[in-house]
Symmetry: C2
């Protein structure tokens, strides 16, 4: 993504070179991002809290480390945004829920601590769908996050603030969370890269659960390399593993094994999604990767999505039941309606749902066994306008990776449409390990330019 | 356990020597057991189906293998009883439930197939509590299994038929299943050894679930060695691992690390249970094993049991909901009442229950981290009469091992009481691996004689 300011254009991965060459200091980078947030975020609505003083202080410490050649990691000094359900010490830890508006995090979430240990600058908390339960990020308590490409269009969700901030150049990269697709959907809508890593790779300690059996912390970046670097820091891997994760797999490693593609068949997919899928398959074949159509017959996308929503409703309600009893007015009617299923459905039906979903996961893993990975759509339809509202089947294709626990990334595949109506296209790749997902994402993507309104 | 007939007295482990020395053939052994079943089982009520023709035919094949020096395993030719919720091809596969009375298993459960591959002779199916949900084995559809020590006393449950058949010498060893204690409780009541192995070690394929998140297939034997041998065959381990499992850990390996003991404190435990616990601790110290009292403060026994019962209710109801809708009269009122919780409680409460139980498991594992294992009671009170009925807290001490997934064995610790009123005492050992559990069980047990009525 090309921004006028080379500091912003550097994203995350290329900052390292700038710092080590002393082309720029972390203090300058932090100041540039904070100034952009001041100038551009009021119209975008990505941030809900900016930790200016802490960020500036941390950037000075980072600058001293780089000056002494003692940088803590390749992301030392990089300004990162954090989704509002992930605890940042001293900032409101809300999960986008009104009832928790006045709750300040007593300590950092595990993943935030790991980022700070790597030297990252935490800029602040970004907006999200209430309780992470939805994909619009038109939050009744904290406002609307606009899509950087078109203000009347949703940035997606639930990590809408994270994706919008990355796409608009208001952070170098961002943390999100993904239960049924919440990192990948807004990444697709905003034209950036969004990785939901292997289940459990990034700790969920200090993250408000939507569904603790399906939740993942994920990363948003302007390139596969940016995602890889943030992931390596976020999972707190030891040096050797981090170095492995920090670099997407090489093309040489990707042409060895066949890759599967899921054609929508009876499932919904708009023309833009079909074009993006075709483009990614064509690109894979051009690179020498064998691509085969796969039918995930044992995996019922509609049923898995339905079960995922039921389980999320039950676990969200279990998480918030006490607070709901005290302060029902701190939860919007829409959010309460999404959780209500967990109070209507009986225990034995939920038990059956867990079992059925585990069976679907097993079938999907078996069907994918012969392949290095899978290309499939990220969403059934392109980004929707706030006026139109979220389609019901928005997470149909993303739920798969949460259910099977495998890493999945949404990657941009050029722009669709002309002029002011243009929006980024996207596809999703699923793989058996994070390096391969990152490598496939890098190889098959077609990065897009920065959104016009945010280039300068 | 001393039986007049040396074939019966040999149990499982010592049969191998008899076969290889040609002191006896599998045909004679099978005939001896079938004849005892004919003679003694009508008063005991352990078997619900005997597969006489198959057993005799299989014993002939085994005899040929031993004659040619081609025995398939150390248990080739050993007659084994199988709990009625584990599928045996061609026999009724009922789980002790009336609704499934006429259902014949189309194929063997995975564990039965593995036993047959090891050459074991499957004698038939043994009685159990309806749906495995209880500890009395006074089955409304298939009759009452008496305790071989006293006919007015329950054999325990839910694997009451398995434990009674082993104690009465009506099989060399038996398979049971254990969700909250169903292998260990009847083993304790009948004076034998009963091991619930590491979760997942024996496949649950072809076993009617009570709770698929807590269920384990387990083994009943007249010694720790018998349990070890049956476990090695039942988990289908490759030769090397099987040899390791097939032998309880040596005393030399057990004196290296401290062992924990749980004193009941505020939890219920009768005088016999206290005496058994003291005896096991004294024996451990005599052997040179350091024993320390541990307080499992983070693990609430009552709460874990309550949650286990709730989860079992929900999962049992999920398993049988369709059949219940078709044929409510095929389920007893008492069994339906146990499952009813799963229809009364809401989905979100069950979600919370799973999470809470996982938290308790984590706390227990942490508290046990410094020890090689734990000695604790098997049950709060000794075997109950049918007239008195099952006490509500029967599985208070056994649920722990299902929740944490670690292997646990109930072992006999001599007799308590005099003459016709005497009943076996027992303690439970939990360890981090099956070999250690078996080794501790062997070292700390005090085996009892055969029940008087079944010696001849």
């Amino acid at each position: 993504m090309s921004f006028t300011n080379p500091i912003i254009a550097a994203g995350l991965a290329r900052l390292t070179a700038l710092f080590s060459e002393r082309a720029v200091t972390p203090v300058e980078v932090c100041a540039a991002y904070l100034s952009r947030i001041d100038r551009l975020d009021p119209a975008l609505g990505a941030y809900v809290a900016v930790d200016k003083d802490h960020a500036i202080a941390a950037s000075h410490e980072s600058a001293l480390r780089w000056a002494k050649g003692e940088a803590l990691s390749p992301i030392d000094g990089a300004p990162i945004a954090v989704k509002a359900n992930i605890a940042i010490e001293g900032l409101p830890w809300t999960g986008g829920i009104g009832a928790y508006r006045d709750r300040l995090a007593q300590e950092d979430a595990s993943v935030v601590r790991k980022l700070r240990e790597a030297g990252a600058i935490i800029l602040g908390a970004v907006n999200m769908e209430e309780g992470a339960f939805g994909a619009t990020t038109d939050n009744p308590w904290f406002g609307r996050t606009h899509n950087p490409w078109r203000a009347d269009v949703s940035a997606g969700g639930s990590s809408g603030g994270s994706a919008a901030a990355v796409a608009a150049g208001l952070c170098a990269a961002a943390l999100g969370s993904d239960t049924l697709g919440s990192v990948r959907i807004p990444s697709a809508f905003c034209g950036i890269f969004g990785l939901k890593p292997t289940q459990g790779l990034i700790s969920l300690d200090g993250v408000i659960p939507m569904s603790w059996t399906l939740d993942h912390v994920g990363v948003h970046g302007r390139s596969a390399e940016d995602c890889a670097l943030l992931l390596a820091a976020a999972c707190g891997a030891e040096a050797e593993l981090a170095a492995e994760i920090a670099k997407p797999a090489d093309l040489d490693d990707l042409i060895d094994a066949p890759l599967a593609v899921l054609r929508p068949g009876d499932l919904p997919l708009d023309a833009m999604g079909r074009a993006a899928l075709d483009a990614a398959v064509a690109r894979a074949r051009l690179l020498g990767i064998e691509v085969e159509e796969v039918s995930l017959n044992g995996y019922d996308f509609q049923e898995a999505y339905r079960l995922g929503v039921l389980i999320s409703g039950a676990e969200s309600l279990a998480e918030h039941a006490d607070r709901l009893a005290e302060s029902v007015e701190g939860f919007s009617e829409g959010y309460r309606a999404r959780m209500a299923l967990g109070g209507e459905v009986k225990a034995y039906q939920l038990a059956g749902a867990y079992r059925k979903l585990a069976g679907l996961a097993e079938a999907a893993r078996e069907a994918l066994g012969a392949y290095q990975g899978l290309i499939l759509p990220t969403t059934p339809a392109q980004a929707f306008t706030f006026a139109a509202g979220q389609p019901v089947d928005i997470a149909l294709y993303t739920t798969l990776a949460n259910v099977v626990g495998l890493p999945a990334m949404s990657v941009p595949v050029g722009m669709a449409g002309e002029g002011a109506g243009a929006l980024p296209g996207a596809v999703q790749v699923v793989a058996w390990d994070d390096e391969t997902a990152l490598g496939l994402g890098k190889a098959l993507s077609e990065p897009v330019d920065a959104p016009t309104a945010f280039r300068g």
